[in-house]
């Protein structure tokens, strides 16, 4: 379906704590007929520690990986982890904007990076390249009763001049992808709010407070699940949910699913392939609620028949109204 070939950069999280993001991502991309290759010998993207120390060094760590992509003849890389993606996008932004910065970075590399690779988040690839039609075409299953709060986190689309994707204050790509797969999403005011990021280690109390707010706002928005696109957000909301409950005295039990896991469920993929068992807050309720699209149709038809009389009356009333006015 999509002729373009992509490179794929898993990054360290997706090999460890977020292996279910990796598994579900690969499975969903396969379902969407996206071809991708992984560059050999990829290394650390630099993440947060590198750029807090030295920008040239940080860009070099990122550019080394981008140069590997250049070497295998590809020019777009799918980076599921937003932190990796931002490291790549920032390196690309800095090196294309300033020739001297590019030279400084390339001096640190064995093979120079020529700035021909665009990095995209998985959301961006699915939203912009594959398209919402393709997303919905593949759907075989429905998740009735599920209402997901789309949670983008802070860096997927910010700063806007570097990210160049979606709205920096009110992103809608995940909302639309999930709705296209037939999943109900809530109007979530905290879709960009900070999860506390890596401060979970250094300042646990603060992160517990922040995640508490995100979780309670999700419930307030009517959601019973949070859809995420970032390994760190997922970890803070899922792994630390018990901690939040004990420190804040709350009783949250909200499954935190990667948006690819939700897509996978609607595509009829097995929970095992999607790594559902790795979630700390169990998503069994969601998995068990899954029905086929045909079953859902039948239920809806039955409901429609039962309610048939009421809406007819209403419709008649509405039609006569404008004439009265005239």
């Amino acid at each position: 379906m999509v002729d373009q070939k992509y490179a794929y950069y898993a990054g360290c999280s997706l090999e460890g704590t977020a292996s279910e993001y990796d598994a579900s991502m690969r499975a969903v991309l396969k379902e969407l007929d996206v071809n991708f290759r992984e560059p050999d010998d990829w290394s650390c993207c630099g993440s947060t520690p590198a750029h807090t120390v030295n920008h040239v060094f940080a860009a070099a760590l990122a550019a080394r990986n981008l140069a590997l992509v250049e070497k295998i003849g590809l020019n777009t890389i799918i980076t599921p982890c937003p932190s990796c993606m931002m490291a790549f996008k920032k390196a690309q932004y800095g090196m294309t904007k300033s020739e001297s910065f590019k030279n400084e970075v390339n001096e640190l590399l064995d093979e120079p990076y020529e700035c021909s690779v665009e990095s995209k988040s998985a959301l961006q690839v699915i939203y912009e390249d594959i398209g919402l039609d393709a997303v919905s075409r593949r759907v075989t299953h429905a998740l009735p009763g599920l209402k997901a709060a789309p949670y983008y986190g802070c860096i997927l689309n910010r700063p806007p001049e570097v990210a160049k994707f979606d709205d920096p204050e009110n992103p809608i790509s995940m909302d639309k992808i999930l709705s296209s797969a037939g999943v109900e999403v809530s109007d979530f005011a905290f879709k960009l709010e900070c999860c506390g990021a890596a401060f979970g280690v250094a300042k646990r109390g603060m992160v517990n407070q922040l995640t508490y707010k995100v979780l309670s706002m999700a419930l307030d928005s009517g959601a019973n699940c949070i859809a995420v696109a970032c390994p760190l957000c997922q970890q803070n909301l899922d792994l630390r949910q018990g901690q939040v409950n004990s420190t804040m005295g709350s009783g949250f039990n909200i499954p935190i699913l990667y948006f690819t896991q939700i897509l996978g469920l609607t595509y009829g993929l097995s929970p095992k392939v999607l790594g559902m068992e790795k979630l700390i807050v169990s998503a069994d309720r969601i998995i068990r609620s899954r029905i086929t699209v045909e079953e859902q149709k039948k239920i809806k038809e039955a409901e429609a028949q039962a309610n048939a009389k009421k809406p007819e009356k209403k419709a008649v009333k509405e039609e006569t109204k404008p004439e009265e006015n005239e």
């Binding site: 709205d167 920096p168 204050e169 009110n170 005011a189 905290f190 706002m217 307030d220 006015n325 005239e326």
Partner: protein, 653 residues
């Protein structure tokens, strides 16, 4: 030819970084220069006398002054040489201040550059020809564009001085932004109560002709003689018959028209009179919402109108008027809330703009002056004001201060307490800017007497929680984050120029800045003049301005027009294009390129067609001279030979 050169020290402005004595010494060596000297302040009275004395004693017939920009003193020195008996165009000014001493620090290279610039001026002045002004009659009518408070003040002052005034207003009523305000700071007097009488005066003054709901289509001509095409937009109501009774508005079935006057606080009818005090108080149909236009049937207003004033077939009408001067008072706009996504970007009904809140506070507004919030019409207990919503924000291209938000926010906070005594207002601010008379006392009163809580810091986000709006921001004095649960949030949105400001400036041939505000002739000394003679500025079209400043400028612009019209004849600038009929081949390319329509074709007695310049219309831009294939059309005082002499002076000598 005997050229005299006067090199000015300008205190230390020039002499500080240029060796003026050496410039004089080098200049003396130039052919034709018989006299060169330096002087401390050449523009001073004794400085000018020195020039006049030298003209007499040295028998000079050409003069060069090397000093500041000709924009500053060209006119001064032209008068000086004229008084000494020379033609005023036998003078050239070499700019060695703005172009040399102010921009370079190295004295050696500055001196070299100054010598070259003076040499150019000397070569040019040697080529100069005597030119003579002609005089022309002035049409003593004035056009005022924009009927806000600045425009109305200008119109009334001109009319009271006996001038005929045309006041063109694009909306259906005069009054502008001030007519929408509830109260005015710092006196809290009712805005429409003080503006209303002025509006009535405008309507009733026998010297003022009001064109409401009209726009300027075209401006031709020059100072003293403008031809204006005014587009009277179709109102679909015959205003000669409409009595303003309002019956049509009551009965109109289309209830969801956007209310421009109330900034969409509540919908209005498709046929409406914008507000009770409107001048003229006439109805107008909005064809975007009127059922007769959108659906092709309705006709309720036509049936019901007691004077049969409705005319669905009405077309725009173009009227031509002639005036001698123009006052531009087109006002300002406010940024669209969509440009502030961090504050909801218009997604939340209970986050409104200051001007919308003004309409809510106003007794003749959609809520009859009761403070209710848009979502559920409940009376708010906690109101948060966000100052600088867009202003002083480089990231959205608005680095400037919007001037009056600090003050109206304090006013609105005070009024909120008056309307809802048990309410609490918060103001998030960057700095409190209240430098006007009685202004700072006013903002202090808001805090001290009305208990308004001022929080110094920016708001990062506004989001809904239940039926409250959470305003999240920083308190930079306490160094902490704050969250306020508000019932209603009011944004002090940034002032911007009108979307068509650039377009209007091009019609007027005046300049505008990066932000679309019109540029005055001098920021301090010529604040209401433009660089186009005959066109004057008043009010916020020149930059954000409060009511007293706008009124002041309206009066100032009117007095400038009075001064201009105090003469019956004006002198034309002879530095205009001139056709040499012996070399003109009559191709008339110049006619097509002239941006001022100042060239027409002329048939000579032998039947030959040539181009002919209308001297009074020509602005001396020189576009025609570079278009002419045979060099037959020349800009006087800037002829090819004169300019080539300058080029040769720098390239060949």
């Amino acid at each position: 030819m005997r050229v005299g050169v006067f090199i000015c020290h300008c205190g230390n402005n020039i002499a500080g970084t240029i060796d003026v004595a050496r410039v004089a010494e080098e200049t003396r060596k130039l052919p034709g220069v018989v006299y060169a000297t330096t002087y401390m302040y050449t523009c001073s009275e004794p400085g000018q006398e020195e020039i006049q004395k030298a003209i007499k004693s040295e028998n000079l017939d050409r003069v060069v002054v090397a000093a500041c920009s000709p924009r500053m003193h060209e006119l001064t020195f032209r008068r000086t040489v004229a008084k000494a008996g020379l033609n005023r165009y036998f003078f050239e000014q070499a700019n060695i201040r703005e172009h040399v001493s102010w921009v370079g620090e190295d004295k050696e290279s500055n001196t070299g550059k100054a010598i070259e610039i003076v040499r150019m001026a000397v070569e040019k002045v040697k080529q100069n020809k005597p030119l003579y002004s002609t005089s022309f009659k002035v049409n003593k009518r004035v056009l005022v564009i924009g009927g806000g408070v600045a425009g109305m003040q200008a119109a009334l002052d001109c009319a009271d001085g006996g001038l005929e005034v045309l006041l063109v207003e694009k909306s259906p009523s005069v009054g502008g932004m001030m007519a929408r305000l509830d109260k005015t700071f710092p006196t809290i007097d009712c805005s429409i109560c003080i503006l209303g009488p002025k509006m009535v005066d405008v309507a009733q003054h026998d010297k003022i002709k009001l064109y409401a709901y009209s726009e300027i289509d075209e401006i031709k001509g020059y100072v003293g003689n403008y031809q204006i095409k005014i587009r009277k937009k179709a109102t679909y109501v015959d205003w000669t018959k409409c009595t303003g009774c309002g019956t049509c508005m009551e009965k109109c079935p289309s209830k969801n028209s956007y209310d421009h006057f109330n900034f969409g606080v509540a919908p209005t009818k498709a046929i409406n009179i914008p507000f009770p005090q409107a001048i003229p108080k006439k109805a107008k149909i909005d064809p975007d919402y009127c059922r007769q236009f959108t659906k092709g049937k309705c006709g309720v207003c036509a049936k019901i109108c007691p004077t049969k004033a409705i005319d669905y077939e009405m077309q725009d009408e173009i009227v031509t008027e002639e005036v001698g001067a123009i006052i531009v008072s087109t006002g300002y706009s406010l940024i669209d809330i969509e440009r502030l996504p961090e504050y909801g970007g218009g997604r939340y009904p209970d986050v409104i703009t200051g001007i919308q809140y003004e309409r809510i506070l106003n007794a003749s507004g959609p809520t009859s002056g009761h403070i209710v919030r848009p979502s559920d019409h409940a009376e708010p207990r906690t109101v948060v004001f966000v100052a600088c919503a867009g202003s002083r924000d480089k990231s959205i291209g608005i680095p400037y201060c919007s001037n009056f938000c600090c003050m109206y926010i304090a006013k609105q906070a005070i009024l909120t307490k008056d309307h809802v005594p048990d309410s609490q207002s918060y103001v998030f601010y960057m700095d409190i800017r209240s430098p006007g008379k009685g202004y700072d006392e006013f903002t202090r009163r808001a805090q001290e007497e009305y208990g308004v809580k001022y929080i110094r810091g920016r708001v990062s986000r506004i989001y809904p929680k239940g039926n409250k709006m959470i305003v999240k921001g920083a308190d930079t004095l306490l160094g902490t984050q704050v969250e306020v649960e508000a019932d209603l949030v009011v944004l002090g949105t940034a002032v911007i120029s009108n979307s068509d400001a650039g377009h209007m400036a091009e019609k007027l041939h005046i300049s505008y800045d990066t932000f679309g505000f019109y540029v005055e002739s001098h920021p301090k000394l010529r604040p209401v003049e433009t660089n186009t003679s005959g066109v004057f500025l008043a009010g916020a079209c020149q930059g954000p301005k409060d009511i007293p400043a706008s009124v002041g400028q309206g009066s100032a612009a009117a007095s400038k027009v009075q001064a201009l019209f105090s003469k019956d004849m004006l002198e034309s600038d002879p530095a205009v294009a001139k056709v040499n009929i012996n070399t003109c081949v009559g191709c008339l390319k110049c006619v097509k390129t002239c941006p001022f329509q100042a060239i027409k074709e002329k048939e000579l007695r032998d039947g030959r067609i040539v181009a002919d310049v209308i001297e009074t219309v020509c602005a001396g831009c020189g576009v025609c001279t570079s278009t002419c294939p045979c060099g037959a059309i020349q800009l006087q005082h800037f002829t090819d030979n004169q300019l080539l002499a300058e080029v040769n002076a720098i390239c060949l000598m």
